[in-house]
Amino acid sequence: MKWAGLAAKGNPSALHFLFAPLEFTTNTWDHFSARPELFLAKGHVKPFLGFADDQMKRLLGQKGQKNVYRAELEDKYGYDTKYAMHVIRLYGEAKELMEQGRITLPRPNRDELIEIRRGKYSLAEIRELGSQLESEALTAQATSPLPDKVDRDAISLLLADAHLRFWSASEGQSIP
């Protein structure tokens, strides 16, 4: 699957490319990423909350294998606190995306996320916090500044332009 296809569908990991601090970039990417709003839509709340809900169910042992990754955290805190951090992080990103039309990285509530990792909260409190953030994300969706859906034609034009720009600038890689 192409990255842009994942991003246009609201895949949280793919959308992070548009908002994460860059370790390396080029003119091609700078031009391409200058309009992150092309990849954002109100409908993206669904995959974000879908991922978060699915992970919350696993955390609570309601779906699949419970705490399959980090037995040492379960021994220490009673549940996988790193997994819980990512669940709450996803709900928070869904809310910010709907309210502000962006995802801030690193997360503004990173101190809270680290506290979650360190086991400050009970599993019941994690569930309650997740439920609250989910409700707020859905409320924000109704008044979100984002369009109802992404403009796939505009994304396709941007993709084609990026390829042609890169190939034109890359010696020995262009079509003779």
Partner: protein, 81 residues
């Protein structure tokens, strides 16, 4: 600084157009050196690799590769845009 994905067997190093670190580090929730480092990148293959008869898999992924420089675990994934 441009990351060296080639050390993990990535053959399109010169075609990277961006790279970033994801996961806990990107979220600001990394705890010490206990977490893996999740590298992500995008690359645009040469036309013949993308459009030609011998076009191959376009997703490169090397989970849990060990960095030659640090010995730390790395997850390296590169996608085409």
């Amino acid at each position: 600084m441009k990351p060296d994905f080639a050390q993990y067997g990535f053959v399109h190093q010169e075609n990277l157009i961006m790279a970033c670190i994801g996961g806990s580090q990107a979220h600001g929730a990394k705890l010490g050196a206990t977490d893996d480092t999740d590298w992500y990148g995008l690359y645009i293959p040469p036309p013949t690799k993308l459009l030609g008869l011998n076009a191959r898999s376009i997703l490169f992924s090397r989970p849990e590769a060990n960095s030659a420089a640090t010995g730390h675990k790395m997850w390296v994934s590169a996608y085409i845009p």
